[in-house]
């Protein structure tokens, strides 16, 4: 039994079950923290009735999801209506399988990857799973046979499709810098240091690519300011207007699991995954069980940081209008990432793809050219009528 449990397969299956179980709790509590952070930003109390500091709120919510009536209205397409939240849930959680949680563990003289699955094409797998995320949304909107759901779904589809293109290009740029599609092999070169002090994390090589990838991740996860699919004021609940009880809960869990997968992915790609400079347990050489736990905590801390950033952004920035959203993707991010791709290919030709000055210089050139284009073209702000009261311009009505 011990033999099997410490083999790669045994560790993979145990880790798959543990990650899935832990993620249920993490997702439930990230909803609690989202509400607490919202309250904190808006100077309110937030949930504080259920248990001390409202800490039992997620459990109360879960119980309520189960005991509420699971309405399937008469006008929907029943098969697709049930399939949509199921797919959303499954797809959001299987993406976690390719995340390298804790490097390698030395047990009985052999090294075991603390990763459910380490395929040669880990990045391609994550991109594919991310691309499938749109199915849950589009099926839910179509099956509901409700105009709010339908418009929410087609908006979400167009948005997720448009932002997948710059996301794919950003990942290709990282592949061109790191030369591998395995996530573990993308972390390892990042654990070295420049002049013995600064870790070689990709964020220092390509800050602009990091920023663009983060923006596209927000859009892929349907998070504010890209949450047009569920813009309450216009579309009620968007694609999940007709859903209730645990089916709605599954959409909710799926959305937050998607955020966690995206945060873990961007931490691995740009922030060295489980690596933390100067901490002896968070180095690739450390393979004891304690080191594995420390590495998991380090990656967990990075994920928590990204989640906090996403929540902060949600309660800070107003939502985009749909034409602005499309313009940002097709006229902003896609040309920028195409330019960055060209520059990275050129640098790789001369073997300069990991030299800090050159890659940062390339990023700066693209950023400056974009800003110059914006300044020179002087596009009018569309949709603004003459005499419209704009905050900070007209009377201070706000």
């Amino acid at each position: 039994m011990w033999e099997f449990l410490t083999s790669q397969m045994g560790v993979s299956i145990m880790l798959a079950a543990v990650v899935f179980g832990v993620m249920q709790g993490v997702v439930a509590y990230s909803i609690y923290f989202e509400r607490k952070i919202a309250a904190w930003i808006q100077d309110r109390c937030g949930p504080n009735r259920v248990g001390p500091f409202g800490l039992l709120q997620p459990i109360a919510d879960g119980v309520k999801f189960i005991f509420k009536e699971d309405v399937i209205p008469g006008h929907v397409d029943k098969v697709l209506f049930v399939l949509a939240p199921t797919m959303m849930f499954i797809i959001a959680f299987i993406g976690l399988a390719a995340i390298p949680w804790g490097g390698q563990w030395l047990v009985d003289g052999k090294l075991v990857n603390i990763q459910v699955s380490n395929p040669d094409i880990g990045l391609l797998y994550l991109l594919g799973v991310g691309g499938m995320g749109v199915y849950g949304v589009v099926l839910g909107g179509w099956a509901s046979n409700n105009k709010y759901s339908f418009y929410g779904a087609i908006r979400a589809t167009a948005q997720m499709l448009s932002y997948e293109i710059p996301m794919g290009l950003c990942i290709v740029i990282v592949v061109l810098t790191m030369g591998s599609l395995r996530l573990e092999e993308i972390i390892l070169p990042q654990t070295a240091y420049w002049s013995g002090a600064i870790p070689k994390w990709n964020i220092f090589l390509h800050p602009l690519v990091f920023l663009i990838l983060f923006i596209t991740m927000l859009a892929e996860a349907n998070r504010a300011p890209f949450d047009l699919a569920e813009a309450e004021q216009e579309l009620v609940g968007g694609f999940h207007t007709e859903y209730s009880a645990l089916k709605f809960g599954m959409f909710f869990l799926g959305e937050y699991a998607h955020m966690i997968t995206a945060s873990a992915f961007i931490s691995v790609m740009f922030l060295g995954g489980w690596h933390l400079p100067w901490l002896p347990w968070a180095q690739p050489e450390a393979t004891s069980f304690a080191a594995v736990i420390v590495k998991m905590l380090v990656l967990g801390g990075k994920i928590a940081g990204f989640l906090f950033l996403m929540m902060w952004i949600r309660w800070t920035l107003p939502r985009f209008r749909f034409d602005q959203l499309m313009r940002l993707a097709w006229l902003g991010l896609i040309p920028m990432t195409l330019g960055l791709f060209m520059i990275t290919v050129g640098l790789l030709y001369f073997g300069l793809h990991r030299s800090w000055a050159w890659t940062c210089g390339g990023d700066t050139v693209v950023l400056v050219l974009t800003l110059m284009y914006v300044a020179v073209s002087r596009r009018e702000v569309s949709g603004r009528t003459p005499g419209m009261n704009v905050i900070g311009v007209g009377t201070a009505a706000g």
Binding site: I13, D70, S162, G168, E242, L246, M250, I334
Partner: protein
């Protein structure tokens, strides 16, 4: 295919089974425990209390269709870049060469020129569709 190379995919399969099982269990639990009380109003479409005038599956703006079509073109082009990126990385850093069909070995120069042509077509396509106003929403 040895057990070693298949292991990652078997592990992904196991994950899919665990997650799918949990999803089906959730649906069953909610179906069994929750009350079921139907009514003509509850079973109708929720559109903020307005009487429903038409079915929701009606014509919608063709722009969404155009975006989906352009996405397919672009995304397939980007998927082509992935194997190219791996080959190019090998060629540019380790000086690896790739055999063509007629047996000649080519290096990074060939790869960068090939990508240049492909990329020029991609860029031309983007500029053309922007010029046609395919992505104008207002």
């Amino acid at each position: 295919m040895t057990a070693e190379t298949l292991q990652p995919y078997v592990a992904i399969g196991a994950t899919v089974l665990i997650v799918t099982g949990a999803a089906i269990a959730f649906l069953l639990v909610a179906h069994l425990i929750g009350p079921k009380r139907h009514g003509p109003v509850k079973d109708s479409t929720y559109e903020s209390g307005m009487p429903v005038i038409t079915d929701a599956r009606r014509r919608f703006n063709v722009k969404f269709y155009i975006v989906a079509m352009l996405f397919i073109l672009f995304d397939v082009e980007i998927v082509f870049m992935w194997p190219w990126a791996m080959l190019y990385y090998e060629a540019a850093t380790a000086g690896a060469t790739i055999p063509l069909q007629n047996g000649t070995m080519v290096g990074k120069e060939f790869l960068i020129v090939g990508m240049g042509i492909f990329f020029a077509l991609l860029l031309f396509g983007l500029v053309y569709e922007l010029g046609k106003g395919a992505l104008k929403w207002d």
